[in-house]
Each structure stands twice: as structure tokens, then as C-alpha cells.
């Protein structure tokens, strides 16, 4: 068990290095020169330009530049945001909690929807409930998050006027009132994400449960006289969840992509909207840092999935 976890932790290291190489390659391949402006400026003599290039190491081989860049990133020196005038790591730390709150709560809700609906539908295959649930799952899966977001705004903010459609970071109320306002403005972004993910996971939960429920050991459990509830929850679901966890881990990149879109629609001040505004403002250090942070988050989610496997099926650790 300990060995398995250690191995999973160690696998992270080459992955992080691989991602940093991909990111740096993209950056290095990109055309455009940070000193382009100086090159066309006649007031700057060529020697000064050459000195500046040498000082920043722009003429070094790519490998040297990569090592320098990655050591700086590892030390926590993530650069300076040109647009916001503060250090990039501070900027990201300001924005990250909001994103984690939105993504975290939507993942929990999506999981609850998928498990409840998926298991209920799979225990009654081809019933009316199953057919309705399957249809809704497909429809929810085919509705892109940006469109659901717009429809939600149309219904709940414009027609019914129940919920605010702009997320505010500066709520003045205190105590319970603050929590209430916070909850109200979280509902739409969280639900948009949760419904999309819940819809696609419901299909996987349903088919995984259907695969397991026909196996012999389930029949054995039933013939032992166990209650149906125990059979489903303790015997079927636990084994059915293993492929589901794999799929969920594989879909984490999509989840973060969806979070960027919802943050943009509802103007949630998280790192997704930070990424978009940084791109529009040509703020390269912020763009690189946000992409890197999102990659790390995806990897951490995969690690969490690996840990969940052991909890679901202890044999996995000994393979």
C-alpha cells in the first residue's frame, strides 16, 4: 500500500517535467521576439540590444533556456504580471480559491447526480425512468456549457429575476447575509458545470453498474438473503466505481476547460477568467503560469483517482 502510493507520487515528477517541456516548447517555437520593439527603434544602438539579449540569455541554446526557466519556476519565481503590476504567484493565489470553490462544489454535485441517477436507472434497465434519464443525459452532454450558461441567465436572471448573473467579489454584507449572497451567486456557475459533467458521468455509471450487476457474485449475494439495498451499495457499486473513477480522472481536463468558460460567462474572478484577460492583454508570464497551474491541478486529480482505486479495490496496490 505504502509502496503503491509512493510509486504514484513518484510518477508525478516525470509528468510535471513533461508538461513543463511541452509548455516551454510551445513558448520557444512561437514566433515573435520580446526585443522586437527595440530592434525597430533607431534610438537604440545595436550593441545595447546585443548586450540586453546576452543579459537575459536570449541567445543561449534552447536547452539552457529551458533549464533556467524551469529552475526559476521551481523556486517560485513566476515572473511579474505586466497588466496587474504584481507578482504572478500572488495574483494566482488571489484567484485560485474562487476557482477551486466553484470546481469543487460542482464536481461534488455532478458526482451525486451521476451516482444517484445512474445507479437508480441501472437497477431498473429500460424502465420509463431509465429512458428519461438516458435522454436527459444525452441532451445535457450535447449542450455545451457556454450555451447552458446563457440559457440559465436568460431564465433565472432575466425572466424570473431570481439570481444575479454577475459574480461579485466585493459583497459588503457580513455574517449570514454574506454567505447567502455568496451562495446565490455561486448557484448558476456551479450548476452549469455540474449538470454538464453529471450528464456525461450518468451514462458511465449506468453502464458500469449494468456490467457488474449481472455477475455471479451478485447473484450469490442475493441468494444469501442480503437486502437488495446492501447488495447494490456494498457489492455492486463498489466494483462498478472503478471504471467510473478512471473516466472521471480522464475527463478532468474537460472540467477545467468548462470552468474557464463558466467563469467567463458569469465573470467569476477565478484563474480561468484571469487566463482570458491575460491573453487579451498579452500578459505572457500570467498565461504561462495559469496554464501550468491548471496542468498541475489535473495531475493532482489523477493522483487522487489513483488513491481512490486502492480504497475501492485494495488488490490494485499489490499488482
Amino acid at each position: 500500500m505504502g509502496q503503491y502510493l509512493l510509486r504514484q507520487f513518484l510518477i508525478i515528477i516525470p509528468k510535471v517535467i513533461g508538461i513543463s517541456i511541452v509548455l516551454f516548447t510551445v513558448l520557444a517555437l512561437a514566433p515573435g521576439d520580446p526585443f522586437e520593439e527595440l530592434a525597430t527603434n533607431p534610438a537604440v544602438p545595436p550593441e545595447v540590444r546585443a548586450n540586453l539579449r546576452a543579459q537575459f540569455g536570449l541567445d543561449d541554446p534552447v536547452a539552457v533556456r529551458y533549464v533556467r526557466w524551469s529552475t526559476a519556476m521551481a523556486k517560485g519565481d513566476w515572473g511579474f504580471s505586466f497588466a496587474s503590476r504584481i507578482n504572478v504567484d500572488e495574483l494566482i493565489m488571489q484567484r485560485l480559491p474562487t476557482t477551486l470553490a466553484v470546481i469543487g462544489s460542482s464536481l461534488v454535485i455532478a458526482l451525486v447526480i451521476a451516482l444517484v441517477v445512474g445507479i437508480y436507472a441501472a437497477t431498473r434497465p429500460y424502465s420509463i425512468f431509465d429512458q428519461i434519464a438516458s435522454t436527459f443525459a444525452l441532451v445535457g452532454f450535447a449542450l455545451p456549457t457556454f450555451f447552458t450558461g446563457i440559457v440559465f441567465i436568460l431564465i433565472f436572471s432575466i425572466w424570473l429575476d431570481w439570481l444575479p448573473f454577475v459574480y461579485r467579489a466585493d459583497i459588503t454584507a457580513t455574517g449570514w447575509r454574506w454567505w447567502w449572497e455568496q451562495l446565490r451567486q455561486m448557484i448558476m456557475p456551479v450548476m452549469v458545470l455540474a449538470l454538464f459533467q453529471g450528464a456525461s458521468w450518468t451514462r458511465y455509471v449506468r453502464s458500469a453498474v449494468l456490467d457488474v450487476i449481472r455477475l455471479d457474485y451478485v447473484t450469490t449475494a442475493r441468494s444469501k438473503g442480503l437486502a437488495e439495498r446492501t447488495v447494490i451499495l456494498k457489492h455492486v457499486v463498489r466494483n462498478a466505481l472503478i471504471p467510473v473513477v478512471t473516466i472521471i480522472a480522464l475527463q478532468m481536463p474537460t472540467v477545467f476547460g468548462g470552468a474557464i468558460v463558466t467563469e467567463q460567462i458569469f465573470r467569476v474572478p477565478g484563474i480561468g477568467s484571469l487566463l482570458i484577460s491575460a491573453i487579451l492583454a498579452n500578459d505572457t508570464p500570467v498565461i504561462m503560469a495559469v496554464t501550468f497551474v491548471l496542468s498541475i491541478l489535473v495531475i493532482l486529480c489523477n493522483l487522487f483517482a489513483d488513491i481512490t482505486y486502492v480504497w475501492l479495490d485494495p488488490r490494485i496496490a499489490y499488482r
Binding site: 455545451p144 476547460g257 496554464t291
Partner: protein
């Protein structure tokens, strides 16, 4: 490479595993299975109509997409503008037809790139054992754990301006989007093809070909690949939907096509600030994306059933 053109479904190949006693060909059999999936058939018909509509649309509805008419701003659907107008009084039906061409073209071309890359990598990985296989699958795993949308945004941000300079705004953005989506979507196909190869490689008919002295290339192209393509076709249909969603997401974030090229996502992006007065502007392109993706999903479901001969229906 010539043998991996995904447009030719294996089911039509009469040279596949011979089944003489049966009077129906594999293609007819697949068609019969497909027809029984009524929603898939409906999806195929809707997709066909949409493709026909966006190809022939400009002749049926010859209204320019950029004709500004300030007397008809933000109008709802009417006879002269069946889908209404936007804030500059431009006809939305004409813009939707144009956008549909872009969205569908992006979907199909990006899918082709993803499938070709995926089939090549999967085939190489599946036929060669040992370190090449391990390295390729490690790269696939790495790409699977990359957050695609942020990276897509990063690539587009870095390369957009110079491509625009060399090839022109429309073609430049199109190529960029299509290539980038293709590059980030090859992994599922590669894994599928590899898994198929691992099992097919040991089958008797491949062994027979090997015993007759067929080279590795011939074994792959003539014998293994045609039999591995069924699941690839299903994955390819899903990839079209994913590419369409990706493109509209980019345009919706304001980072895809420029405003003078109204793809469906771009129309939604422009519409989202006028939701209270002109919701038709958002609902038509959003509905079009939804309908396309839903049809493709059902089509993929139907193909999955039709192309798997082991499945009893």
C-alpha cells in the same frame, strides 16, 4: 499511409474475412443494424440536411452576411429576416449559414487530422513491441493529462498574429484551430487502434499472412488496419462533435474567429451582451450547435451498434 484513409469503412470491403454462406454483404448487414437504431437514423438525416443547408444555403438565401441596416437592428424573426437581425441589422440566417460552413468544416478537418495522427501512432505503437510502444503510450498519457483548453488558448495566443500575417486572417485562424484541435484529440484514437492491434496481431489470419511472407507493412495495411477501423469510425464521429464544441468555445471566448467571420460560437459571443432584448440571436446559433452535437452523438451510437458484428440485435 495510403491505407489508413478513414473515409472508407471496412464494412464495405468485400476482401475482409470471407463469409461465403451468407448472401448479404457486411455492408448491407451493417446498414440493417444501423437502420434499426431509429434515433441514429434521425441524427444522420438531420446532419445530412444541415450539411446540405450550409452548402446550398447561399444560393437559396442570397443575402450578404455583412449588409448593415440600422433601420432593422435587433429584430426578432420575421418574413424578411427568418432568424432576425443582430445589433448592426445584419441578417442572422445568412450569418448562420456561413457560420455553419465554418463550424462543420472545422469539425470534419480537425477530426481527419486527429484520426490520421491517432491511427499512425496507434498502429506504430501496436505493431512494435517494447520501448517504442512504451514511449508512445507515455506521450499519449501525458497529452491526456494536459488541460486542453488552456493550452489551446496559449497556442492560439502565441501563433495567431504571425499566421494572420502570412496566410490571411480567415485561412490562418482556420488552419491554426484545426491543427491544434487535431493535435490535442489524437490520444483516444491512438489507444483504440493500439488495443485493436494488440489483439488482431495474434489472430490466425494475420499469422497466415505472415507465414506466406507478407512484410510488416503489408500485414498492417492489408490485414490488420481494415479490421481495426470499426471503433475508429465511431470515435471519429464523436471527434467531429468535440471539435465543433472546441471551436465554438474558442470563438465564444472571443479568441477564435474574428467578428467578420461569424462562426456559431462567435455569433453566441456577440449575442451574449444583448440577451435581454434579442434572445433569438443567442438561441439560434446555440440551438444549431446543440442539434449538431446531439445528432452526431446519436449517429455515433448507431454506428457503434452497426459496426460491431458480434453484437446481437
Amino acid at each position: 499511409m495510403s491505407g489508413s484513409t478513414p473515409a472508407s469503412p471496412t464494412v464495405n470491403a468485400t476482401t475482409g474475412p470471407a463469409r461465403e454462406p451468407k448472401p448479404v454483404s457486411l455492408g448491407m448487414e451493417a446498414w440493417r443494424r444501423f437502420r434499426r437504431h431509429r434515433l441514429a437514423l434521425a441524427g444522420a438525416i438531420i446532419l445530412g440536411l444541415m450539411a446540405l443547408g450550409v452548402v446550398l444555403g447561399p444560393w437559396i438565401w442570397p443575402v450578404p452576411i455583412n449588409e448593415i441596416d440600422f433601420t432593422a437592428r435587433l429584430q426578432g424573426p420575421s418574413l424578411s429576416h427568418p432568424f432576425g437581425t443582430d445589433d448592426l441589422g445584419q441578417d442572422l440566417l445568412a450569418r448562420m449559414i456561413y457560420g455553419g460552413r465554418i463550424s462543420l468544416a472545422v469539425g470534419v478537418v480537425a477530426m481527419l487530422i486527429a484520426v490520421i495522427v491517432g491511427v499512425v501512432i496507434g498502429a506504430v505503437s501496436g505493431i512494435s513491441r517494447g520501448s517504442i510502444d512504451a514511449a508512445l503510450m507515455w506521450v499519449a498519457d501525458l497529452f491526456l493529462s494536459l488541460p486542453q483548453l488552456p493550452l489551446l488558448l496559449l497556442v492560439i495566443y502565441l501563433f495567431r498574429d504571425s499566421l494572420k500575417k502570412y496566410i490571411g486572417a480567415e485561412a490562418g485562424i482556420f488552419i491554426l484551430i484545426v491543427v491544434v484541435i487535431g493535435i490535442f484529440r489524437w490520444m483516444p484514437v491512438a489507444r483504440l487502434v493500439r488495443a485493436q492491434f494488440l489483439s488482431l496481431r495474434e489472430k490466425e489470419f494475420v499469422e497466415a499472412a505472415r507465414a506466406l511472407g507478407a512484410s510488416t507493412t503489408r500485414q498492417v495495411v492489408r490485414h490488420i488496419l481494415p479490421n481495426a477501423l470499426g471503433p475508429v469510425i465511431v470515435a471519429a464521429t464523436i471527434d467531429v462533435a468535440a471539435a465543433i464544441i472546441f471551436e465554438s468555445t474558442l470563438s465564444f471566448l472571443g479568441l477564435g474567429f474574428p467578428p467578420d467571420i461569424p462562426s456559431w460560437g462567435r455569433l453566441l459571443y456577440d449575442a451574449k451582451d444583448h440577451l435581454d432584448v434579442a434572445m433569438h440571436w443567442a438561441l439560434f446559433p446555440g440551438g444549431a450547435i446543440f442539434l449538431t452535437v446531439l445528432s452526431i452523438t446519436y449517429l455515433g451510437d448507431g454506428l457503434r451498434d452497426a459496426l460491431d458484428p458480434r453484437r446481437v440485435m
